[in-house]
């Protein structure tokens, strides 16, 4: 019927909506979007021909399944009446697209053979839940945490014998605290700077060894805490206003507990389940805390588990650019 593609507007260099981005992909997206609406935001759902002719699109209704269905049907109907010459790129343009795609694929940093975790966060039940709308109560968000193969080894003791323990290297635990134990339940916020990490402890203990498999327990505690420096920062600190405290703070106090199984023969984790119970405080407009003055402290749960291996599970972490990978 149609080819579904999901993507982020942001790019490591210039974003797709940056008018100075001269990539084939960006120019095509801008061409499609400008046929749809005049909104500043490029967020939305668009049905288009490979040549970049808009068939249907919306900026508003991405969360309404029925409206999206209607939009897709509208797009498919227009497709039927579009001539082949209008539908497709010329061979020359297509070759350009294929070449750019190959370059993009070569740039991907997915840590093959490493540890790729799915990170799911959701608000936990709280005493003042009646003040929270049902939509917000049900919200959750998803991200991925990446560890290269050499880094994954640091998540288990060097000698995997029963009773052996190892403190996971601090920089790896800091990666979790700064980029993944962040209040992203309702939207985006900034990662925590390194100097805001007050605690980053995680211990791995071998519970059992059987054939190639090592059973591990994880227990840990991280803390991040940041105080407003007096300057409004979009997406991080709020403008002064009613209900906005003069001294803005944000942070996450996270307790980790879980288990994993490592396959020594395959040299990879085959199971990983860590539950993170956090207390989070602070918030801004982008993560939809400021509008509701929902600055906490309030409980938030995070679950770390092994990510799948299909293309949808290879999406880079939100703050990947801050990982500092060369």
């Amino acid at each position: 019927m149609l080819v579904p593609a999901a993507d982020a507007i942001e790019r490591p260099g210039k974003a797709l909506d940056d008018k100075t981005n001269m990539s084939f992909e960006s120019q095509l997206v801008r061409k499609i979007k400008t046929q749809c609406n005049d909104f500043y935001s490029y967020q939305g759902i668009f049905v288009a021909t490979p040549s970049g002719l808009l068939l249907a699109g919306t900026h508003h209704d991405a969360r309404d399944a029925r409206k999206v269905e209607k939009l897709l049907r509208e797009g498919l109907e227009k497709w039927k009446t579009t001539s082949p010459s209008d539908r497709f790129m010329t061979q020359e343009v297509f070759s350009k697209a294929v070449a750019e795609l190959a370059k993009e694929e070569a740039r991907k940093r997915y840590p093959t053979g490493g540890l790729v975790l799915s990170v799911i966060c959701r608000d936990l039940p709280r005493p003042d839940a009646k003040n929270v709308s049902e939509v917000h109560r049900k919200m959750y968000n998803q991200d991925y945490a990446w560890f290269r193969k050499s880094e994954a080894q640091a998540f288990l003791p060097e000698q995997p014998i029963k009773g052996a323990k190892r403190k996971v290297k601090r920089d790896l635990v800091e990666r979790l605290a700064r980029f993944h134990f962040v209040d992203l339940v309702r939207g985006h916020t900034s990662p925590f700077p390194q100097n805001t990490v007050e605690r980053a402890d995680l211990t791995a203990e071998v519970i059992d060894v059987n054939d190639n498999f090592v059973s591990l327990r994880y227990k840990g505690w991280t803390q991040t805490s940041e105080v407003h420096e007096g300057v409004h920062t979009e997406g991080k600190w709020n403008r002064p206003g009613p209900g906005i405290p003069k001294l803005q703070k944000r942070g996450v106090d996270a307790k980790l507990e879980g288990h994993a199984v490592y396959d020594q023969k395959a040299k990879k984790f085959v199971s990983f389940n860590v539950v993170v119970v956090t207390k989070r405080w602070g918030g801004n407009v982008y993560n939809a805390r400021a509008q509701f003055l929902d600055f906490g402290p309030a409980p938030m749960g995070i679950v770390l588990s092994l990510a799948g291996d299909n293309v949808a599970d290879r999406v880079p972490p939100l703050f990947f650019r801050s990982y500092g990978w060369k």
């Binding site: 149609l2 080819v3 579904p4 593609a5 999901a6 993507d7 982020a8 507007i9 942001e10 797709l16 095509l28 939305g44 759902i45 668009f46 049905v47 288009a48 021909t49 490979p50 991405a62 797009g75 498919l76 497709w79 539908r87 297509f94 697209a97 795609l101 993009e104 799911i120 966060c121 936990l124 959750y140 968000n141 998803q142 992203l184 985006h188 203990e205 059992d208 059987n210 054939d211 059973s215 591990l216 327990r217 507990e257 879980g258 288990h259 199984v261 085959v270 199971s271 389940n273 539950v275 119970v277 749960g301 679950v303 588990s305 293309v311 949808a312 290879r314 999406v315 880079p316 939100l318």
Partner: protein
Amino acid sequence: MSHFVTGTVATLLLLVPGIGLYADEGKPLRTPKLSAENAQLRDFVLPNPSEASYRKIPWRTSVLQGIVDAQKNDKPVMIYLMNGHPLGCT
């Protein structure tokens, strides 16, 4: 109802120490005993099958991949574009 049953079975399996999926014959791999609420919290936080149903769609993870595949397959492309990747953190 089916989600309740699935979640309950998963919770029971996680709560019982000593049941290991990775095991030699007759010698199960021991797993640690975790706090009582660990499995309950895990079930609460993870998306239920309905919430995760969008992941069954055979997404291409970039506009460019979608456009190229659409041209190859003589089909239109549906582009879902967000600040933050819709299949990751959006």
